[in-house]
C-alpha cells in the first residue's frame, strides 16, 4: 500500500532506531570485558574477566551482614522488594475490589486519587515520606523507602486488578452467594482464583519496580545502600568496569524477566 521509497525510508529509520536503542547497551556490556581501569571500549586493552571476579568478591554488594549487621546492596534491595510485594499487593487488590464495586462520581474521584501517585515525580514521593515520618519521630532508613515505594506501586497493582475484574462474570459471584456461600467463601473460591494470574504478574512487577527504584529510595534510605544507589554513587565517585559487570548481570536478569513476562502475557491473552 505504501510506495517503495516510503518503505525504504521507514526501514532505514527503523534500523537506525534499533541501533540507537541497543548499541549503548552493547557498549556498556563490552566495557565489562575490557582490561582498562576506566570503563570504555576504545582503546581495547585486551579481554579480561577480572571485573567479574572483583564484582563477585565485593562484600558491599553481596554481603549478608558484617560485624555491624549491615547488609550488602543486593540483600537490601531484595528485602525491600519482598516487603513491597507483601504490602502493596494486598492493599492494591483490596483497593481494586473497592473501586470495581463503585460507580459514578465517587468512583471517578477515588480513581483519580489512586492513579495520582503515578504522575508524581519519585523524588517528591521520597521527600514527602521522609518528612512525614521523621515528624512522627521515625528516622530514615529502608523501612521508609518501602513505604514510599508502596505508595505508588499500590497504584500499579490496583490498575491490574481492576482491568481483570472488568471481565469477571458477576453472575458467578451472585450464584455462589444465592447458593449459600459466605462472602468470604465467594471471594476465596471465585474472585481470588479468577484474579490469580493478574496477582502473580502484579507481584513480579511490584518486586521489579521496587528493585529498580532510585528516586524515592534516594531521599528515604538513611545510610543504607540498595543496588541502584550503589551503582549511582559509584558512577559519580571513581567508576570502574566492576559496575559494567554488575550491569551485565542485571541486564541479563531483566531480559529473561521481560521475555517470560511477555510470553506469559501473550499466553494469558490467548486463553481469556
Amino acid at each position: 500500500m505504501e510506495s517503495k521509497t516510503a518503505r525504504l525510508i521507514i526501514n532505514i529509520y527503523l534500523a537506525i532506531f534499533l541501533l540507537y536503542l541497543f548499541a549503548p547497551l552493547f557498549v556498556m556490556i563490552a566495557a565489562a570485558f575490557n582490561d582498562s581501569k576506566f570503563p570504555t571500549v576504545m582503546p581495547w586493552r585486551g579481554f579480561t574477566l577480572r571485573w567479574f571476579s572483583d564484582l563477585w568478591a565485593d562484600d558491599r554488594i553481596w554481603g549478608i551482614g558484617d560485624e555491624d549487621g549491615r547488609l550488602g546492596a543486593v540483600a537490601n534491595s531484595v528485602l525491600v522488594g519482598l516487603a513491597v510485594v507483601v504490602i502493596a499487593v494486598p492493599i492494591g487488590t483490596l483497593a481494586g475490589l473497592l473501586l470495581d464495586s463503585l460507580r459514578g462520581r465517587v468512583r471517578s474521584a477515588l480513581y483519580a486519587c489512586m492513579v495520582a501517585p503515578l504522575l508524581v515525580p519519585g523524588i517528591i514521593i521520597g521527600i514527602s515520606t521522609l518528612i512525614f515520618w521523621t515528624r512522627l519521630g521515625i528516622s530514615p532508613g529502608l523501612h521508609l523507602s518501602t513505604i514510599g515505594q508502596c505508595s505508588f506501586i499500590c497504584s500499579y497493582v490496583m490498575l491490574m486488578v481492576v482491568a481483570r475484574l472488568q471481565r469477571l462474570d458477576r453472575s458467578l459471584e451472585e450464584a455462589a452467594l444465592d447458593l449459600g456461600a459466605s462472602h468470604a467463601q465467594a471471594l476465596r473460591l471465585i474472585v481470588l482464583p479468577y484474579l490469580r494470574p493478574s496477582l502473580l504478574t502484579a507481584a513480579v512487577l511490584a518486586f521489579f519496580q521496587s528493585f529498580e527504584n532510585f528516586n524515592t529510595t534516594l531521599f528515604t534510605r538513611g545510610g543504607a545502600n540498595t543496588v541502584t544507589i550503589f551503582i549511582a554513587s559509584h558512577i559519580r565517585t571513581g567508576v570502574t568496569p566492576e559496575i559494567n559487570a554488575l550491569g551485565l548481570v542485571l541486564i541479563s536478569l531483566t531480559v529473561i524477566a521481560a521475555i517470560v513476562y511477555t510470553v506469559r502475557r501473550g499466553a494469558t491473552a490467548a486463553i481469556s
Binding site: 500500500m1 516510503a6 527503523l14 532506531f17 534499533l18 549503548p24 547497551l25 557498549v27 556498556m28 566495557a31 576506566f38 570504555t40 576504545m42 492493599i91 483490596l94 483497593a95 475490589l97 473497592l98 464495586s101 463503585l102 480513581y111 483519580a112 486519587c113 492513579v115 495520582a116 503515578l118 504522575l119 508524581v120 515525580p121 523524588i123 517528591i124 521527600i127 514527602s128 515520606t129 521522609l130 518528612i131 515528624r135 513505604i147 514510599g148 508502596c150 505508595s151 499500590c154 459471584e173 468470604a184 521489579f208 532510585f214 528516586n215 531521599f219 541502584t228 551503582i231 549511582a232 558512577i235 559519580r236 559496575i243 541486564i251 531483566t254 531480559v255 524477566a257 521481560a258 511477555t262
Partner: protein, 294 residues
C-alpha cells in the same frame, strides 16, 4: 455503599475501606500535606519548634526568585524537559506508526519485545551507557575521528546536551507505547481514503493520524515530561558541573544545606510545575485521567 456490603459482606468491605484509607491517606495525602505545611515554615532548631519563631512564611518560596542561579536552574529544567519531550515524540512517532499501521503481526510482536527490553532496564544503567559513549576518550569521539568527521575529540559532556541526549534515550520508550496504542485504533481506510484523494504524506499525518493519536501523544508527553523534570540520575551523571538540574538543588537543600523546609518548598514547586504541565496538556488536548493510566 449498600451494594458494596451486599456483594462482599461487612468484614470484607471494612477491610477494603481500611486498606484504601491506609494507602491513600496514610501514604499519599497526609505526607503531601505535611510536606507542603513544612515548606511554609522557617528552618528551626528542634528546640524552637512550636515557639513564637515557628510561624508561616513565604520565605522559602521567595528564595527561588531571589537566588538567580536557582531560578536559572528552574528555567533550564522546564525548558530541557520540554525539549526532551518534543525530541522523544519526534523519535518515537515514526516507530509507533510503523508498528501500528505497517508491520505484519509477527514483525510487530518481535519489535515490541525488543522495545520492552530497554524499557525494563534500569534508567541508571541506560544513562551510564551514554556516560561511556560520550566520554572525552570514549567510543563516539573514537569512531568520529576514525571516520574523519572530527579532527580532535569533542567535549560532549559539557553544557546540557549530554543530559538531553540521555533523557531522550532513557524516555523514548515511554512515548512509543502510548502513541502505538492510540494509532492502533485508527481505521486504515481513513489513511487510504486520504491518500486516494491525493493528500501528500505529511498532510495525511497532520490531518488524519496525529489528530487520532492525540490521546496517546498527550499521555506520552506527560510521562516523558514528568520523568525528565523529576529525574535526578540523568543530570547527576551526564551534566557538566555548571549545569545542574532542579532536582539536584532540592537534594542539596536536604543533604548539604540541612534546610528541609527550603527543600520542601522547592520540591513543591517542582510538583506544581509537573501538575501545570499535566493538567495543561489534558485540557489542551481534552484527555481524561482514565486515558492516562493504561
Amino acid at each position: 455503599m449498600k451494594q458494596l456490603v451486599d456483594r462482599y459482606g461487612l468484614t470484607l468491605t471494612g477491610a477494603m475501606l481500611l486498606a484504601t484509607f491506609v494507602w491513600l491517606v496514610g501514604m499519599v495525602i497526609l505526607p503531601y500535606l505535611v510536606m507542603v505545611d513544612f515548606s511554609f515554615r522557617p528552618n528551626l532548631l528542634p528546640a524552637d519548634v512550636g515557639s513564637e519563631r515557628d510561624h508561616y512564611t513565604f520565605d522559602n518560596y521567595e528564595t527561588l526568585f531571589r537566588n538567580e542561579i536557582h531560578f536559572v536552574v528552574f528555567l533550564r529544567t522546564l525548558w530541557g524537559s520540554a525539549l526532551a519531550t518534543f525530541l522523544c515524540l519526534c523519535v518515537a512517532y515514526p516507530v509507533a506508526y510503523f508498528l501500528a499501521m505497517m508491520a505484519t503481526p509477527a514483525q510487530a510482536a518481535t519489535f515490541l519485545l525488543l522495545l520492552v527490553i530497554p524499557f525494563w532496564i534500569n534508567e541508571i544503567l541506560r544513562t551510564f551507557a551514554w556516560f561511556i559513549i560520550l566520554a572525552y576518550n570514549g567510543p563516539l569521539n573514537g569512531v568520529l575521528r576514525l571516520l574523519g568527521v572530527i579532527a580532535s575529540p569533542v567535549r560532549w559532556l559539557s553544557g546540557s546536551w549530554g543530559v538531553i541526549a540521555g533523557m531522550v534515550y532513557a524516555y523514548t520508550v515511554f512515548m512509543v507505547f502510548p502513541v502505538y496504542n492510540a494509532v492502533l485504533t485508527l481505521d486504515r481506510n481513513q489513511v487510504e481514503a486520504a491518500r486516494d484523494l491525493g493528500a501528500p504524506l505529511w498532510r495525511i499525518h497532520w490531518r488524519v493520524v496525529i489528530p487520532h493519536a492525540k490521546p496517546g501523544i498527550t499521555v506520552g508527553c506527560i510521562l516523558v515530561f514528568t520523568a525528565a523534570a523529576g529525574s535526578y540520575i540523568v543530570p547527576s551523571i551526564l551534566a557538566a558541573p555548571g549545569t545542574r538540574w532542579f532536582t539536584e538543588i532540592i537534594y542539596q537543600w536536604f543533604y548539604e544545606g540541612q534546610n528541609w523546609p527550603q527543600g520542601s518548598a522547592y520540591a513543591f514547586l517542582l510538583l506544581l510545575l509537573c501538575l501545570v504541565f499535566v493538567f495543561g496538556m489534558m485540557r489542551i488536548f481534552r484527555v481524561g485521567l482514565s486515558d492516562i493510566a493504561r
